[in-house]
């Protein structure tokens, strides 16, 4: 099932949750919607599910207008951040719910329903919890039951809203791997929302980065990390150093200092220079684009993180390999190995 979203706009009062979003999701893909809170990612997911309605724009499943259908007819599996399990039903009945509420004409008989629920509980490896109630489960178990429940209706699309947001770090890591292998197994077109870049980069085939109701970049995890399309994406994904620079006459200036960096194709004016922390190479003073004095050094396993006061006035943090020990008070030169400059 492909999903196509065209020029979607949704306003809550004067706040534009979605401000003209276009997106195409391929069949069988596992797509991540990544962005800070308030970026519109959950709103987009809820509109695709039919739990919210856009002010304008189109949503199509396999070319068919989805907005003509209610949430009930769309056949979309939705997994909520806080699970939304039916608290008065056993795990078994939770999973069976979607099968039991089917119209009489197509409803399966009891034996088939039981078999199907058993299969799903096996799939999420929790068949031994069938008779428990949601309140008796751990967070990770609840989330897997919520997923089994969503899969029971054999959804055409699976949507997950911050599926691991409420879980602790260890369980989250396990479930991430598990979700990826599950998707590999069932291959249903899936979209999950997250504000955790690591989660998005690790689990998804493609990542959609959103900010303020707009899509900033769509690409593979490598794309969005290695070649961020906008200043926002660069700042949001990975640990970045952000410095205000000026582009004047084809040269990049940082304060009074002309940086020895290529400025091809850049519009003149105030710009921002982005460098990953580990892409700032340390050399002797005078050797690089920047000069600075080391303020603090802390060691993190293979790297040392140094706080450096640049001679232009800003203080930055860099991650340098341990082969050359830095000390507070050292004066060093810094050269960005890879960098990007964005206007504004």
């Amino acid at each position: 099932m492909t999903i196509e979203v065209k020029n979607l706009v949704k306003k809550f009062g004067s706040f534009a949750a979605l401000d003209g979003v276009d997106l195409k999701v391929n069949d069988g893909e596992l797509l991540a919607l990544l962005g800070p809170s308030g970026s519109g990612k959950t709103t987009l997911l809820r509109i695709i599910a039919g739990l919210d309605w856009p002010d304008s724009g189109e949503v199509a499943f396999n070319g068919e207008d989805a907005l003509a259908q209610g949430a009930r007819e769309r056949h979309v599996g939705f997994v909520f951040q806080h699970y939304a399990l039916f608290r008065h039903m056993s795990v078994f009945e939770n999973v069976a719910f979607g099968l039991r509420v089917q119209p009489r004409a197509i409803r399966k008989d009891e034996a088939t329903i039981r078999r199907r629920v058993k299969e799903l509980l096996d799939l999420v490896q929790l068949d031994w919890l069938a008779d428990r109630y949601p309140s008796q489960l751990s967070g990770g178990q609840r989330q897997r039951i919520a997923l089994a429940r969503a899969l029971a209706i054999e959804p055409r699309i699976l949507l997950l809203d911050e599926p691991f947001g409420a879980l602790d770090a260890k369980v989250r890591k396990e479930l991430r791997k598990w979700l990826r292998s599950l998707h590999h197994e069932i291959h249903v077109t899936s979209i999950f929302v997250t504000h955790d870049q690591e989660e998005a980069l690790e689990v998804a085939n493609r990542v959609v980065v959103m900010d303020k109701g707009r899509i900033e970049q769509i690409g593979s995890p490598d794309d969005v990390y290695e070649t961020p399309a906008t200043a926002f994406v660069h700042g949001f994904i990975g640990e970045s150093i952000e410095l205000p620079v000026h582009v004047v006459d084809g040269a990049v200036r940082f304060g009074e200092r002309a940086l020895n960096l290529a400025a091809d194709g850049l519009a003149p004016g105030a710009s921002k220079l982005f460098v990953r922390r580990h892409d700032m190479l340390v050399g002797p003073p005078g050797s690089g684009a920047f000069e600075g004095a080391v303020q603090h050094v802390r060691n993190f396993g293979p790297v040392q993180r140094a706080e450096v006061a640049l001679s232009g006035g800003e203080t930055i943090e860099i991650d340098a390999p341990r082969d050359r020990e830095l000390r507070a008070g050292d004066t060093i030169g810094l050269r960005p190995r890879r960098y990007r400059i964005f206007a504004g």
Partner: protein
């Protein structure tokens, strides 16, 4: 030979006493001196006995003062039976109406956002904050012979005031907040996620209501109905204004108690009063049980 480890040696008697004193000192930080504690508890128990238990006992003592036969004879009076029947009918009507209204109001408040919501929440409490006599008078103003609809009602030969409809209306008005009040916090806490989940799993509106919403709030509904019923059967002020006190026709139990008392028929008055008192006791017991279940409705899909 092995060395004894000092800590494991039994405490000497003076040490133990010192520890006990220290423990007592710690407790003293948290609680009042014994005399104060006893005084406070005595006061509370005494107050409850005099103001709550004693009247209850007296009601039954008076009711049975001429013996058990007189008690049942008083209850078997046609007038008494009519009052009991009317009270049950009125309670049934107003509780059913308020069950529906309360559910709708709580649903609207807990699950939707709309302008005037705060105003509506305030309005729900109006029947509690206004004197019941005034509630009754409002219906007299509306449906009385000189009232807004009085002429129209007379022309169409519809009797509201001084009849069952008027009594039921006044009771419904006075008892409206109970169900809504019981449900609003419960439904607000539960949110709409379970309903959304049900709909996305293909459930219709009715299926969602009966399979998800209602089971989640059933203890709250019962709690509201219970309190609503207790008040409906016991309501005096509003009903007194609209009833007209027609003997054997528009007297509810509380009204009949007053009439009988004013006629010095103490046994009969207290016999009926004892029924209301029993209702109160049963309500209390049921309320305690329901409150225990009500707690189960909260939590689970945590935040």
């Amino acid at each position: 030979m092995t060395m004894q480890i000092a800590d494991s040696a039994p405490l000497s008697a003076p040490d133990a006493r010192a520890r006990a004193r220290a423990a007592a000192a710690r407790n003293n930080l948290r609680t009042e001196p014994k005399a104060v504690r006893i005084a406070i508890i005595t006061l509370a128990v005494l107050f409850l006995s005099v103001f709550v238990v004693l009247p209850l006992v007296l009601v039954f003592a008076q009711a049975f003062s001429k013996g058990i036969l007189a008690y049942f004879a008083a209850l078997a009076e046609p007038e008494a039976l009519a009052a009991i029947k009317l009270t049950l009918v009125v309670a049934a009507i107003s509780v059913s109406l308020n069950l529906v209204f309360g559910l709708v109001a709580a649903w609207a408040i807990a699950k939707f956002e709309f302008t005037g919501k705060t105003f509506l929440i305030t309005l729900i409490d109006l029947p509690f904050s206004v004197s019941p006599v005034i509630s009754g008078l409002v219906f007299v103003l509306l449906f009385g012979a000189q009232g807004y609809f009085g002429g129209w009602l007379r022309d169409h030969d519809i009797q509201i005031l001084f009849a069952v409809p008027g009594i039921a209306l006044a009771t419904t008005f006075v008892t409206f907040p109970f169900v809504a009040r019981a449900l609003i916090p419960l439904m607000q806490e539960q949110g709409t996620q379970e309903e959304e989940a049900a709909i996305s799993l293909g459930a219709s509106g009715l299926q969602t209501f009966f399979r998800v919403t209602l089971p989640n709030i059933k203890w709250g509904v019962l709690y509201g109905v219970l309190l609503c019923n207790a008040r409906a059967m016991g309501e005096f002020g509003a009903v007194s204004v609209v009833s007209g006190h027609i003997r054997g026709e528009t007297n509810t139990m509380p009204l009949l108690v007053e009439i009988l008392y004013n006629e010095y028929q103490f046994v009969a008055a207290f016999a009926i009063a004892s029924l209301l008192a029993m209702l109160a006791l049963l309500t209390l017991i049921a309320k305690t049980i329901l409150e225990r279940h009500l707690d189960e409705g909260y939590d689970v899909n945590d935040h």
